[in-house]
């Protein structure tokens, strides 16, 4: 738990830090040492967005690499996530912090294939709706080489998180996730 305030720290979010160690220090939960952060404005109320996200089973509708999330109980869920080479990685996650309409934080439990933690915040943006800020920290599978492989497969978490949030925005604002496929067969292929 660290809100490290070095004298030189500016107002930019931790995920924009040039030096990753500084960024991880500012994270609520220090599980995982690579940080991915994204802010997106969604033209819906905090409560609506929170409610949709809080039901983890919904996440599969916009998180492309998530195969499924099984809700175990009010605090715990089991994640099955696509990995390079047609494999999957799994973990149990537990909610570490929750504030209705404002914040959900979670962390993987011991034994996870990828040690990770995340935090999603919903902030009022007046007439613009809600600013959603996601921060995800993770240990890349297999260290640097794993990350390199992941990059080749476009499942690199920074890219993935960015794209997931865009899909979340689309789903919440328009009721659907954009696709440029022409036929159902193409759409299936795209999702595979």
């Amino acid at each position: 738990m660290a809100e490290t305030q070095s004298a030189s720290r500016d107002d930019a979010p931790a995920s924009a830090a040039k030096h990753q160690d500084q960024a991880t220090e500012a994270l609520i939960d220090q599980q995982g040492d690579h940080v991915v952060g994204r802010a997106v404005t969604i033209n819906r109320s905090r409560d609506e967005l929170f409610a949709f996200w809080r039901d983890f089973a919904n996440l599969v509708t916009f998180m492309d690499n998530v195969e499924r999330v099984d809700v175990i109980d009010a605090q715990r869920s089991h994640w099955v996530v696509k990995a390079p080479g047609g494999r999957t990685v799994e973990w149990d996650a537990r909610i570490t912090e929750e504030e209705a309409g404002r914040l959900i934080a979670w962390a993987s439990e011991p034994g996870a294939d990828i040690v990770n933690s995340g935090r999603i915040e919903f902030r009022d943006a007046g007439a613009r709706g809600t600013v959603v800020v996601a921060t995800i920290a993770y240990d890349p599978p297999g260290g640097a080489i794993g990350k390199f492989v992941a990059k080749l497969f476009q499942r690199e978490p920074a890219i993935q998180a960015r794209r997931d949030l865009r899909r979340f925005k689309q789903l919440m604002e328009t009721g659907e996730v954009a696709t440029s496929s022409r036929t159902r067969a193409q759409l299936e292929e795209e999702k595979a």
């Binding site: 033209n43 709706g129 960015r162 794209r163 689309q170 009721g175 996730v177 954009a178 440029s180 022409r182």
Partner: protein, 395 residues
């Protein structure tokens, strides 16, 4: 169905492909009755626009009949609609401000990354215009899938000819928005570079907005002739010096407002090249910015610059000094088509705007490849080609 597909430079073909299907709740399937070839399509034909893939279906100016609707579409089977070339959701921050061409919700999340390094933001989805704008199949086909069909397409009253309303899809709103961006005041002289479809609609729109004089610039005599028909004075830049002519014609003041309706045209840009160059932080001049340079130099002090013309990358020798010292204002952008469609449909119905004058050729869709070649090779004679699926092949 039959569709016009892109395969490379100057290689477009009619092919048989699978029919489109409803994939999202707000989709509709339109059976195309008329579709035009645009000046912007020539950039694709000349292979200047990157991120096109072999087999992509082109076409962003089209209209037709609703034949299938998703559960959340508000259209009804049998209705005739014109479809805007920009794909916008109607409910995001940008759409609420009527900045439809800035809507990110029609662009698939993965495609949004393509423009980021170049522009800092994602663009909106467009029909038939490369994968940077979504990779959507276009309307030079028998059928097309239209997303957000509850907010995009405009329903056309029965008995109104396709030819009269087809250009609501792009070039008419584009010419109109360009004139609006020129912030024309009564008594103004407006100079328009380029007498293609966009420039010609700028001419008409400028007069409707109260311009006293419009001066149109091009080098194709027949295009200049069309501008003249709408009351413009003309400058043929192959016969006269544009700057000198403009200064003389405006008593040394210069045009109050200038419109660039030419664009990058002959010189393209290459995204991979551009991205590499950004990374290397080196200087790059890719687009051909001749007309916008000229427009800025000719514009009167304190005047306005409107730029409907498309630019994609970086330009060399942009006259930033002249722009600053003369205190000019610049407005530009992909057209917010949805915003202008209803008003312009009324203007057409009330015969305030002439649209059909532009069409020089009508061809069956099957002859689309010939159409591209004609439009590319004979710009003087060919001002606009409209393709019609099912039209009988000329003997």
């Amino acid at each position: 169905m039959r569709a016009l597909t892109w395969h490379g430079k100057h290689d477009v073909r009619m092919e048989t492909v699978d029919d489109p299907e409803i994939l999202n709740p707000r989709d509709a399937i339109i059976k195309i009755t008329s579709t035009a070839i645009c000046g912007s399509d020539l950039h694709l034909y000349d292979a200047y626009i990157p991120t096109l893939q072999a087999g992509d279906i082109l076409g962003h100016e089209f209209m037709g009949e609703v034949v299938e609707v998703g559960p959340k579409s508000t259209l009804k089977k049998g209705q005739r609609v014109v479809v805007p070339f920009t794909i916008a959701c109607g409910s995001c921050y940008h759409c609420n401000k009527h900045q439809y061409s800035a809507c990110p919700n029609g662009l698939p999340a993965d495609n949004q990354d393509i423009a980021m390094p170049l522009y800092g933001h994602e663009m909106s989805g467009l029909f038939g215009y490369s994968h940077m704008t979504g990779g959507y199949a276009g309307g030079q086909a028998e059928y097309v899938r239209v997303p957000f069909s509850d907010v995009g397409p405009i329903v056309i009253p029965d008995g109104v000819d396709d030819d009269k309303v087809l250009f609501l899809s792009d070039i008419l709103p584009t010419g109109w928005m360009a004139a609006e961006n020129a912030e024309i005041e009564a008594g103004d002289t407006v100079a328009v570079w380029g007498c293609g479809p966009v420039g010609l609609f700028c001419v008409q729109s400028a007069f409707l907005m109260g311009a006293e004089r419009v001066i149109a610039i091009d080098h194709f005599p027949s295009r200049l002739e069309l501008a003249k028909k709408f009351g413009a004075e003309t400058i043929n830049f192959e016969e006269s010096k544009t700057y000198e002519a403009l200064m003389e014609m405006t008593g040394g003041i210069g045009p109050d407002t200038v419109i660039d309706a030419v664009g990058l045209e002959a010189h393209g840009f290459f995204v991979d090249n551009v991205i590499d160059q950004i990374k290397a932080s080196t200087f790059l001049g890719t687009d051909r910015p001749h007309s916008i340079r000229q427009a800025i130099i000719a514009c009167r002090k304190g005047g306005r610059v409107s730029m409907p013309a498309v630019y994609g990358g970086f330009v060399d020798k942009f006259p930033l000094g002249a722009f600053m010292e003369k205190g000019l204002t610049l407005k530009t952008g992909q057209t917010h088509v949805q915003h202008y469609m209803p008003g312009l449909l009324n203007a057409i119905m009330e015969d305030k705007i002439d649209t059909t004058f532009l069409i020089s050729h009508r061809l069956p869709l099957e002859q689309a490849p010939e159409g591209y070649k004609m439009f590319h090779d004979q710009q003087n004679e060919v001002t606009k080609i409209v393709l019609k699926p099912g039209m009988q092949l000329a003997a």
